[in-house]
Structure formats: C-alpha cells, structure tokens
C-alpha cells in the first residue's frame, strides 16, 4: 500500500537511531518473531516499534537495559499492542512520532527510566494514549492526546493532561510545545 511498511520492529541494541522520513508502519500479515513478539503465546499483542532489553516477564526483573535508543518521525498505526513500546530501556528518546488506532496504547514505557517523549501525538487507543509504568525520571514534553480521553497512565492511575507534575502541563488545545509532564 502507498507509503506503508508492514512490519513489527524490535530494537535491542544500544545507541541505535531509527528515523522515519514520512514512513508509516502498519501490522504485517504475519508478525515477525523476535524479542518483542512470541508467536507461540496465544493472543499476544503485537507492537509497532519495540525497544527492549532483557527482562523476566514473570518477576519484572531486568537483567539488561537497552540504552540510548532514538525513534524519530514515524507514524505507527493499527497494532494490537502499543504503537511504540519500551521495556527495559534506559534513556530512550521517542520524538516526533504519531501513533494512531493502536489498541493498547500509543506509547508505553515499562521499566524504562529516563525516557524522553517529545512532540508526539497519539489517538484512537482503547486504553491510554501514553502509559508509563515502573519508569522513574520520564519526561513527556509537547505531546498531544485526544481531549476527554485518559491521556497518561502512570503507576496504575489514569491522569488527564495537566494533572501530573504541575510543571508547565497544559490541557489539550493549548500549545503542545509548551506542554511538559515530569513523572517521578
């Protein structure tokens, strides 16, 4: 189809930068098996772009963080998981991406300390536009989520824009470039 890559992508190496130049990523007919997707697990969600270190999914214990990965400029849509998912990632930068109609969330960071999510838009998700779990020192800056929805889910709680941190947060409709959420 015009302008689309049909892939579910996993990044497990430190320091990698992945830039989308007008690239749109949609689910493949048969998702690739890799660190972020195990086809033997029935019903497992498929993420669009996944950044993952090594983590014990039963205990949550991280044995290796993938560090300093940047994902920039993609549109990721229609995945059953998150558009962009970070697990056991440290100091990742997710910037200038658009996530549309991904079932779990637009962007999720779990056990991902130091994540910086900048100037991103997420819409049409069944859960929260942005999910942050067990990830200290995360910055969400200039992101846009649909009004009236649960925008950020942090530590198991859903927050509306402007309800977190109080450091320059802005509700939807205001200049997204000045919106800043600092999660601790």
């Amino acid at each position: 189809m015009f302008g689309r890559h049909r892939e579910n992508v996993a990044i497990v190496k430190n320091g990698l930068t992945l830039r989308g130049v007008g690239a749109v990523i949609v689910p493949p007919v048969t998702p690739a098996a890799h660190a972020c997707f195990d086809p033997t697990q029935e019903g497992e969600a498929v993420h669009g772009i996944c950044v993952s270190g090594d983590v014990d999914l039963d205990t949550g214990e991280v044995s290796r963080y993938v560090e300093d990965v940047t994902v920039r400029g993609f549109t990721v849509r229609d995945f059953t998981g998150s558009g962009i998912n970070l697990t056991a990632a440290r100091d990742a930068t997710i910037t200038g991406n658009v996530a549309v109609h991904n079932v779990e969330s637009g962007m999720a960071a779990s056990a991902a300390p130091g994540t910086r999510m900048l100037l991103k838009r997420a819409s049409g998700t069944d859960r929260a536009a942005f999910v942050v779990f067990r990830s200290p020192a995360v910055s969400l800056i200039g992101n846009v989520a649909p009004p009236g929805a649960r925008h950020v889910q942090h530590r198991g709680r859903a927050h509306r824009v402007g309800a977190i941190g109080g450091r320059g947060s802005r509700p939807p409709g205001r200049d997204p470039r000045t919106s800043r959420w600092q999660l601790r």
Partner: protein, 60 residues
C-alpha cells in the same frame, strides 16, 4: 631550544588527535543507512552496530 621542541611535539600531538577525532566523526556519519522502499526495517536494525543511524523512507 628544548622548549621549542616541546611546543612542536605538543602541537603535532594535538594535530594528530584532531585528525583522528575528525576521522572518527566521519566514520560515524558513514554509519547512517537509508532503508528504502520495499526494504526490511528489521533487517536494517539487525545489521546495525551500536551507535548506527537507520533512516526509513516512505514506501512509494
């Protein structure tokens, strides 16, 4: 005289370090790869070394 030689050695060492740094920066730029139409993003990611830059262009 000895002091001049010392300055010369230090200057040469600085120049060599500068060239080495520039060469490393050049190599870093060359690590960028474009993933074109029909190419696999995952294959490009798998083939990358740590610190590499992968660009994915829109499929026509």
């Amino acid at each position: 005289m000895a002091q001049s030689r010392r300055y010369l050695v230090v200057t040469l060492a600085a120049l060599i370090l500068g060239f080495a740094w520039a060469g490393a920066a050049e190599a870093r730029v060359h690590s960028a790869t474009v993933v074109g139409p029909g190419d696999s993003i995952q294959a490009a990611v798998d083939g990358a070394a740590s610190g590499d830059d992968r660009r994915v262009r829109q499929t026509p």
